[in-house]
């Protein structure tokens, strides 16, 4: 027995069908998995007991991720490997626990994330250089928030890692800022590129995967 509930952080991936699950539905999915798992999850006291689950930076519906985090509490000590194995036995395909440990950082410490963007375009190889140079210029986008639509240059918050052609697709790896104030949704980068380059075809012909998450310096992996 622990003296009090112990905080646990689980790093997990969200791929396949799970990409299309909203943040809210992910919460429900995890909640029922917790009950199936019979792990000693700590529940809030009160009329409507629920596990207090907190997720890291939310993902847009349709975006996959290899590095999501959720925090919750347990009432008895359980080794990290056991937590992962137990959760994986009750998680649907597409949701995989990778690592479980007692966290020493806060989600607030997350500053940057890597994304892999794949665009389905005919003659993808011909776009590689054009995309590289387009991303060297100011990246002016229309950002819509609760307070309205603003036009701004997000280039300080976009770092291009690579632009290549892979299997007929244009593969773009970028590091984007994800702190509260300067959050860059990968869809802005895609919209900027398709607008700038006049990329033919449907704008929905792309896939996005979050591949890594970093602290504010953009270098130290977040854990």
């Amino acid at each position: 027995m622990l003296s009090g509930p112990q905080k646990i952080r689980v790093k997990f991936s969200k791929t396949g069908s799970l990409k299309f699950i909203s943040h809210l539905d992910l919460n429900r999915t995890v909640k029922s998995a917790f009950l199936r798992s019979k792990l000693p999850i700590w529940y809030t006291k009160g009329f409507n007991p629920h596990p207090k689950t907190v997720f890291s930076v939310p993902l847009s519906v349709g975006t996959a991720s290899l590095c999501e985090f959720m925090d919750f509490k347990i009432t008895e000590a359980v080794p990290g490997e056991v937590i992962c194995a137990t959760l994986n036995s009750v998680f649907p395909d597409g949701l995989r626990a990778i690592e479980a440990y007692e966290p020493t950082s806060k989600f607030h410490d997350i500053g940057w994330a890597d994304y892999e963007i794949r665009l389905e375009i005919a003659n993808a190889e011909t776009y590689v250089e054009r995309v590289k140079s387009a991303l060297n210029e100011p990246i002016v986008i229309e950002k819509t928030t609760k307070i309205g639509t603003r036009t701004l240059d997000v280039s300080p918050f976009v770092k291009v890692l690579s632009v290549t052609e892979e299997n007929g697709e244009l593969a773009l790896r970028v590091k984007l800022c994800c702190d509260d104030a300067n959050f860059v949704n990968p869809k802005y980068v895609i919209e900027f590129l398709t607008g700038k380059l006049g990329v033919p075809g449907e704008r929905d012909d792309y896939s996005v995967c979050r591949t890594a998450v970093y602290r504010e310096d953009g270098v130290t992996p977040f854990k």
């Binding site: 069908s17 009950l35 349709g62 395909d93 449907e202």
Partner: protein, 615 residues
């Protein structure tokens, strides 16, 4: 999952279409003999909530050689994408087009989903009419409550399962396998299938009509096909198949909780209620079995809410024992228990305290009619005192909101009965202020009225539905009468109810109207935003049928009814007797008090209240 992601990104709630849920069954399609798809002609959220389909999915998938999958009606945004890109309707588990399947089993739950059945077939690239489909297409089956009178949509199905499907569906799949082995011929399969009890092959029957449009005869075209089709039931519910693993949706569905089926049938005999008649005889599960099943479901799903399902839960013979035993562990497991379908005469303080974990401030009761006279006509057997007592219990327990369900346009209804609805609501408000330890908040009563729809296999099957102007006048009348702002009044759209009435008592002539409606793009008729009454009227006109003939005409007691070839166990004589008692304003006792000789005991069944049950 084979739907292109770019489409999933465009549509509302993409998780409706992805499949991949916890609990779905995946098999190797090359290693099974039969591929079956359960098709639900409404949205994913509604279809996933259906208990019958959960059971049947489990039944078929428990056979190694059969793979049962699921398919739902795509919402209109997805439908548009599918039509634009020629994507055929697919099954959730494999993502394979429905056209490649051996059998599609449609669950037909309500008349307003008929156009969705046609639309799903079209989206699957399958000819709509049974006669236009040869061996290269799947066999299209139907099951569910609407099969008790499937005539208005009969031309589209190859065969129908009448009654409870657990056993008959296995027999039909078994027969399919045998036929597949020797070279599948559709006609030969249907001919053999028609000999299985509970199976109705519409194409093997031929109606003739009188000059006035009523049925003259309805006969099988082959000698070896039964004249009457008997409903199937599961005799011992304790031993009936029970899903030990459920498919858990990613998104919120309508019934997003454990549904524990407690018993089938109903001891009451409300004269408008089809479910109460077609599910007879009453058959219960024992408390031990229910507790065991509840635990299995809780473990398998991780749901935190459980509802006890039946037509009238407080009529379960061991309801106290059951709730006590469940509550011993549900609290600890953070599972809240809910009891729907509570009758006012059985609503007690003890029962409410047990379900007080339910996080709602409101309670719902269904008096159905505003005066004792009319409640006697419909055999509701609920008194005003019962309702007020139940409300007082609720108020003492901290509730402030009461929802009351009524029907308008019931046989013999007068404006006095409508006044009665208003007065009943006012009495409930009065009762609140006369409850000494009432909550400190203001009370509220919500009146919801549905339009009476005469349904086959009820004592009111011969009744006419009020015509539209009269229904609207009655709604307006009641609306004008209600002055108290604590009383809210909602009513169903009379136009929707009329279409439902047409199809509920329809015959085969309506198949053409359905086709016309489909050609006009009608679907999702149960959804306000897609229901189009004017187009429906045009469809009837184009097909040359008069909707009033079905909805607004009193059928003759000696008339051959479109559903007379189906035998549900309860006899036509019983319905007639009950109809006459209704007009005499005489009530009939419930099945526990006395046997009224409805005939359903012929079907047999374990743990029933029927005397002289066939074992």
């Amino acid at each position: 999952m084979k739907i292109p992601e770019r489409i999933l990104k465009k549509v509302e709630k993409p998780a409706r279409y992805t499949g991949g849920e916890w609990g779905q069954v995946i098999k190797d399609k090359n290693a099974v003999d039969v591929r079956f798809a359960f098709c639900f002609p409404d949205t994913y959220e509604i279809g996933m909530s259906n208990l019958g389909l959960r059971i049947l999915y489990h039944v078929l998938n428990s056979h190694e050689d059969t793979w049962a999958e699921r398919a739902y009606a795509p919402w209109v945004d997805m439908e548009a994408c599918m039509r634009e890109e020629n994507i055929p309707l697919w099954a959730h588990e494999s993502g394979d087009p429905l056209k490649e399947f051996d059998i599609l089993g449609f669950s037909v739950q309500y008349e307003l989903c008929y156009t969705n059945v046609l639309n799903m077939l079209e989206l699957a690239g399958i000819p709509l009419l049974s006669k236009d489909r040869d061996e290269s297409f799947p066999v299209i089956m139907a099951g569910g409550p609407c099969t008790y009178n499937i005539e208005p949509i009969a031309d589209y199905f190859d065969l129908c399962m009448i009654g409870e499907g657990e056993e008959v569906i296995e027999e039909l799949v078994e027969l399919y396998k045998e036929h597949k082995k020797k070279g599948f011929r559709k006609q030969a399969y249907l001919r053999d299938a028609a000999k299985i009890e509970g199976v109705y092959v519409p194409a093997f029957y031929e109606p003739t009509y009188n000059g006035d449009g009523t049925l003259a005869s309805f006969r099988p075209i082959y000698d070896d096909v039964p004249v009457k089709i008997n409903k199937r039931i599961v005799k011992d519910l304790n031993k009936s198949p029970f899903p030990t693993k459920l498919v858990l949706p990613f998104i919120q569905i309508v019934q997003d909780k454990i549904t524990l089926e407690v018993y089938r049938g109903c001891i009451r005999g409300c004269r408008f209620c089809q479910a109460g008649m077609v599910w007879r005889p009453v058959r219960e599960k024992t408390t031990d079995v229910l507790c065991e099943q509840a635990k299995v479901l809780a473990d398998a799903t991780g749901y935190d809410e459980m509802t006890l399902s039946s037509l009238s839960i407080s009529d379960y013979s061991c309801i106290d024992k059951l709730t006590d035993e469940l509550l011993q562990w549900t609290d600890e497991r953070k599972i809240s228990l809910s009891l729907p379908s509570l009758r006012v005469d059985s609503f007690t303080k003890e029962l409410m305290e047990k379900i007080s974990t339910v996080r709602t401030g409101s309670l719902t009761f269904a008096p159905e009619a505003g005066t004792q006279r009319l409640r006697d006509v419909i055999n509701k057997n609920v008194r005003k005192e019962d309702l007020l007592r139940a409300c007082r219990v609720a108020f003492e327990g901290g509730k402030t909101q009461v929802k009351l369900y009524f029907m308008q346009g019931l046989p013999t209804e007068t404006y006095e009965d409508l006044d009665g609805i208003k007065e009943l609501a006012e009495s409930v408000i009065d009762e609140f202020y006369h409850t000494p330890n009432r909550p400190k908040k203001a009370p509220g009563v919500t009146l919801s009225t549905a339009c009476f729809i005469p349904k086959p296999f009820t004592p009111f099957q011969w009744e006419a539905q009020c015509d539209m102007d009269e229904l609207l006048a009655r709604q307006k009348y009641l609306d004008g009468k209600i002055k108290d702002r604590k009383i809210k009044y909602n009513y169903h759209d009379a136009k929707v109810s009329r279409i439902e009435a047409v199809f509920a008592r329809g015959d085969r002539k309506l198949n053409a109207a359905l086709m016309e409606a489909h050609k006009r793009g009608l679907r999702f008729d149960g959804w306000d935003e897609h229901f189009n009454y004017e187009e429906w009227l045009k469809a009837f006109e184009a097909a040359g049928v008069d909707p009033s003939f079905y909805a607004n005409r009193a059928f003759g007691e000696d008339e051959l009814l479109p559903w007379d070839h189906i035998d549900i166990g309860v006899t036509k004589e019983f319905f007639l007797r009950e109809r006459h008692r209704a007009y005499a304003e005489t009530t009939t006792k419930n099945c526990r008090e006395t046997c009224n000789g409805c005939g359903a005991n012929r079907l047999g069944g374990e743990r029933s209240c029927c005397p002289g049950l066939k074992k």
